[in-house]
Amino acid sequence: MASEREVVVLGAGMHPWGKWGRSFIEYGVAAARAALDDAGVAWPEIQFVAGADTIRNGYPGYVAGATFSQALGWTGAKISSSYAACASGTQAIASARAQILAGLCEVALVVGADTTPKGFFAPVGGERRDDPDWLRFHLLGATNPTYFGLYARRRMALHGATDIDFATVKVKNAAHGLGNPYARYRKETSVEEVLNSPMVADPLRLLEICATSDGGAALVLCSKEFAERRGATGQVRIAGISTVTPSYPNTVIEMPNFATDSSAVLPVPNEAFRHSIAHAAYEEAGVDPSDVSLAEVYDLSSALELDWYEDLGLCEVGEAEHLLRSGASSLGGRIPVNASGGLSSFGEAIPAQAIAQVCELTWQLRGTAEGRQVEGAKVGVSANQGLFGHGSSVVVVR
């Protein structure tokens, strides 16, 4: 059953992450050309282009599918453009995959790229009193790290996480990112250095909060038949994608909201939102969390990575600190998390990030992730979530 739903990842490509302030189109085109080269597919052969949108780069960013297609040269391909905040990349992958699975096209290109301003993400400009994202800055001074700080303090109170645990996540991811040529920060750090960096949103310090970056990532996806005709066998396949919403009532405070849903009249669902995200991808892929070789998760903060361990079923609830401390989530451990270095080493390039996660999983499953290879990787899972309730998780297998 699962195999009928599989789509082949024929090519993966990235532009390195950094902070250059050049056009996002440049990063996207570089990533697209790298993915096409990797796939051995010429641009004019692409039948469908899925662009992941950025809202910070004017109109061309809102119509990313067309913007990248024009930059590569119009070919008359079908296109789509997807926006779902941090989940935009997965939306674009899902869009291309659905076209292939439906038989509407055989080979598709997925591209996402961004150029980001310095500092805290601020809301889109203008006075917009009907937009919770604008209001939370204006009325509460609640930045993104505010929400990360709330999750981190909650984790400390419920599960006994410590400052040292959170710093250890950063140290681990920095060590992983050292070997990744696409990572922006390639520098080792120590628990002491992390704990000495300035406090931003208690208990989280500057080195524990993900930066904003420029970057681009792309994938060439195709049907099994297309891959076979190219003589490409034994390729990495996309076995499951989850784009689920929360279920009402969602009683965990979510960015950019002022309050949670109410549990006054309906019971709280058994599965919290973040847990349901990966679960839906596992179910579609027909894999169990115990099958997973490695995971790429959204470490918007060092503390949030620990929540993901539990949400992805890599350990029981309350066991994430133990998993971390045992070294199981480090390279060489039982279930390496963020072998790429994660957002900790990349910073976030919003529409590119979920695509970059799948690029990394693809290289890991091929055994070509030089300097950070997870030995014998067979099943990889990515997870993130987009503002306002966009779940995002991809399971890849080989």
Binding site: L150, R154, A157, A201, D202, Y248, A264
Partner: protein, 145 residues
């Protein structure tokens, strides 16, 4: 002439001696919402589109807390120059079954807070401009001065 005092946002809270947050209650399924809204009930099993204003509990329990050591970007307006960090809490209102955010009363920081602590609603100054003093709700640990 002294400046007028206005809520930083209309219709979300009452001021006075016993201030309250104003939520909405669905006339169909009786679920609560905050901020108050019109439109559609978020309960997927309810298609009601009418709400009544309801005052929410003025005391709750800290679900979690954090602070803002750096000045948030606009449209946040600092009430002080230079900027002074403030704490933020997520407060669970048991009766309504919601967790709601708010700044902590000025002068208190994360060292004054713990998950599970009882807090009470009060009104304070968010910022002041040429026209008015803009008020906003804040939370204070019960018994803290």
């Amino acid at each position: 002439m002294s400046k007028q005092t206005v809520p930083a946002i209309e219709g979300w809270f009452t001021s006075g001696a016993e201030p309250r947050l104003i939520g909405s209650r669905c006339t169909g399924c009786a679920t609560y919402l905050f901020p108050p809204r019109s439109g559609f009930c978020p309960n997927p099993h309810c298609s009601a589109e009418a709400f009544e204003d309801v005052e929410l509990s003025h005391e709750g329990t800290i679900w979690s807390f954090t602070d803002a050591q750096y000045q948030p970007p606009a449209p946040y307006i600092s009430s002080t120059d230079p900027y002074e960090p403030f704490a933020i809490v997520a407060v669970e209102l048991e009766k309504e079954g919601i967790v709601v955010l708010g700044q902590v009363a000025r002068g208190l920081g994360v060292n004054d807070l713990e998950v599970g602590m009882r807090v009470k609603l009060e009104i304070g100054t968010l910022y002041e401009d040429d026209e008015a003093v803009h008020e906003m709700w804040a939370w204070r640990p019960v018994g803290a001065n």
